[in-house]
């Protein structure tokens, strides 16, 4: 059990490419932190630096009180679950799980006890003598988890562990990982590009973009109080509606749309208005006249996609807008709806820097 601390961690590759630009982070004991971001943002690199698979160019990483920059991966007391499982194909499940322990010169009866315990917990005890190629994807994933659990490490590292599984299994394993992490209470870092996975698993989320932590906090905090345009657009499904606007001193303007209720915004810069699909609702006095393009029925809720009449996106095409509504609202194509929202529940960002102004 230990807290993990990153201090001004940077990564520059030998060819000069910079991957991580000074990350500071404190992860509390037993916390599950999710690194989320688009592919190529550096989230895996950061995880691999904690694992010891990538060197740290500058800065410090410590686990507990120990700085681990120059400690070899196997001595760091961390265990990692890889995206493609990375099981040793020539060993049985038991062999896979015991390999790391044998190399640590653990007594055989202790190894066996740990394997049996972990296998029971993961429901793979009947597969212990099989080889990885005789197992299904989900079972392999469990073995990979088991291999990490038997190590009884101070920190678990997960590198997109569920992205090779099918949708149903992914949800199931997600819940199991969360439960396991809760019951074992081990500090964990989990990397994913899937924002649903990130939202549901995390104690705290770190949204990473272009090698920097854009914002870190509890999932709901990031959802309802994003610090940048990037965080607002990355967190939340369906995605937040982003409408390019300008401020004329009293109103936010895009074409024929004029929105009251905003003040103290710059009049000389292009802005972006962000409105969550679940903040919008049908109102007779609403600000947004919308013609319906498509309705997606998700069972419990309907997602209504339309275009905002009289407004244009920044590419000059019609501005798309999405509304999350109950299953009773089922308009036809080209129906006209009037949608409204409370300005206090919307966000305004600078278009150039992405900084949030309101």
């Amino acid at each position: 059990m230990a807290q993990v601390e990153l201090r001004q961690v940077r990564k520059t590759y030998p060819n000069g490419a910079e991957a991580i630009f000074g990350v500071d982070m404190q992860i509390a004991d037993g916390e599950l932190i999710v690194f989320v971001g688009p592919s190529g943002c550096g989230k895996s690199t950061l995880l691999r630096m904690v694992a010891g698979l990538e060197s740290v160019t500058s800065g410090e990483i410590s686990i507990g009180d120990r700085v681990i920059n120059d400690v070899s991966p196997s001595q760091r007391d961390v265990a990692m679950v890889f995206q493609n499982y990375a099981l040793y194909p020539h060993m049985t499940v038991r062999g896979n799980m015991s390999y790391g322990l044998k190399n640590r010169k653990m007594p055989a009866d202790e190894i066996e006890r740990r394997i049996v315990d972990a296998a029971k917990m993961l429901k793979i005890d009947q597969f212990l003598d099989r080889q990885p190629n005789q197992l299904s994807g989900g079972q392999r994933q469990r073995v990979a988890m088991g291999r990490a659990i038997v190590r009884n490490p101070q920190v678990f590292l997960f590198d997109e562990p569920l992205s090779n599984l099918d949708a149903k299994l992914r949800v199931q394993m997600r819940i199991e990982i969360k439960k396991l992490q809760r019951s074992m209470n081990v500090t964990s870092i989990y990397v994913t590009h899937d924002q649903t996975e990130a939202m549901t698993l995390a104690d705290r989320l770190a949204v990473i973009n272009e090698g920097q932590v854009e914002q870190m906090g509890a999932p709901m905090e990031l959802y309802s109080n994003p610090r940048t345009l990037f965080v607002a657009s990355f967190i939340g499904a369906p995605q937040i509606n982003l409408i390019p606007v300008t401020f004329d001193g009293t109103h936010l303007v895009n074409g024929d749309i004029k929105l009251a209720g905003y003040s103290r915004l710059p009049t000389d810069a292009p802005l972006v208005l962000g409105v969550r699909p679940d903040v919008l609702s049908l109102r007779d006095d609403g600000q947004f006249p919308v013609s319906v393009d498509l309705v997606e029925q998700h069972g419990g809720e309907n997602l209504i996609y339309g275009s905002l009449a009289g407004a244009h996106s920044d590419t000059g095409e019609s501005q798309e807008i999405c509304l999350k509504a109950g299953q009773e609202l089922l308009p036809d194509m080209d129906d006209r709806l009037t949608l409204g929202f409370n300005p206090d529940e919307s966000f305004v960002f600078r278009a150039d820097t992405g900084e949030r102004l309101k």
Partner: protein
């Protein structure tokens, strides 16, 4: 139950005909000839021959010079196979770790592949020439009393050195591609599980290379048995006193130099059976230990 039968047409047979014809003309027909000839005894001028049953075989197998050649072949083949595999594996593992200038490095290591065995033999011959050979003079300069024209061990050293050098590049290519076929994440998982890179190599990398190693072992034994003929013919020619005569070289010597067609055919039939047995043993017993 009736099995599904498709209309047969002659076209597929036409497609495989070129291969079949080559096999028949260059492999099956000579093999049949060898078996037939091995039962015949020809007179010295090749004018007449008589059927002698298994006399050629008994003359062959109980001949001390054949036994010497067989013994040398076994030692020679084991050493060539073992050395060329282990040196190639070492080079491949090291080359696989190289990041800068990797392709130049790899190309240089593969270069020797392009050289035919007799050419390799000629090069070795020059290098070990007592008058102008650098290696010959170098060996003597550093204190070895080296003379491959007289000393059987020295002569064996020369042919083994050249044969191994020639074969390392082929093995290197296969080992390198085998190493690159091991998923990076498996290596990384091993790095997190095991601190010693030496132990990691023998517990993870080497077992995963087993299919490559097995394939190369079969290829290398065949190489050492047959293809090294060109090297021996251009260097020692079996000298001194038959000490570096392999079975294949002896077949050639007795048949074409000694004009003993019957005896030489009997030897090649024995050689065929030996290789057949060896291959069966390899696939039966060693392949079982290979994890694909």
């Amino acid at each position: 139950m009736k099995r599904v039968q498709f209309e047969h047409s002659a076209v597929p047979y036409l497609f495989i005909a070129p291969q079949i014809i080559i096999i028949v003309i260059f492999f099956l027909w000579p093999a049949a000839q060898a078996i037939y000839q091995s039962f015949l005894l020809e007179d010295a001028f090749g004018l007449s021959s008589q059927f002698v049953w298994f006399r050629n075989y008994s003359d062959t197998i109980f001949n001390p010079s054949w036994l010497q050649a067989a013994w040398f072949t076994i030692i020679f083949s084991s050493l060539v196979t073992f050395l060329s595999l282990s040196i190639a594996l070492l080079l491949a593992v090291k080359a696989n770790e190289v990041i800068h200038g990797a392709s130049t490095y790899k190309t240089l290591l593969m270069w020797a592949y392009a050289i035919a065995p007799p050419v390799a033999g000629l090069m070795g011959n020059l290098m070990f020439n007592p008058l102008i050979g650098d290696l010959y003079q170098g060996m003597n300069a550093i204190g070895f009393d080296f003379d491959h024209k007289l000393d059987p061990v020295d002569a064996s050293f020369v042919v083994i050195l050249i044969s191994v050098w020639k074969q390392v590049s082929v093995n290197f290519i296969f080992f390198l591609s085998g190493l690159q076929g091991i998923p990076k994440s498996v290596q990384e998982a091993a790095t997190m599980d095991c601190d010693s890179s030496f132990r990691r190599f023998w517990t993870i990398t080497f077992p995963l290379l087993a299919p490559t190693t097995f394939f190369l072992m079969v290829i290398n034994i065949t190489y050492a048995f047959f293809e090294t003929f060109g090297i021996i013919d251009t260097t020692t020619q079996g000298a001194p006193g038959g000490a570096t005569t392999t079975l294949v070289f002896k077949v050639f010597q007795d048949g074409f130099r000694g004009a003993d067609i019957g005896g030489s055919s009997a030897q090649s039939v024995v050689l065929m059976i030996m290789v057949l047995l060896l291959t069966v043993i390899q696939f039966r017993f060693i392949e079982k230990k290979v994890h694909y």
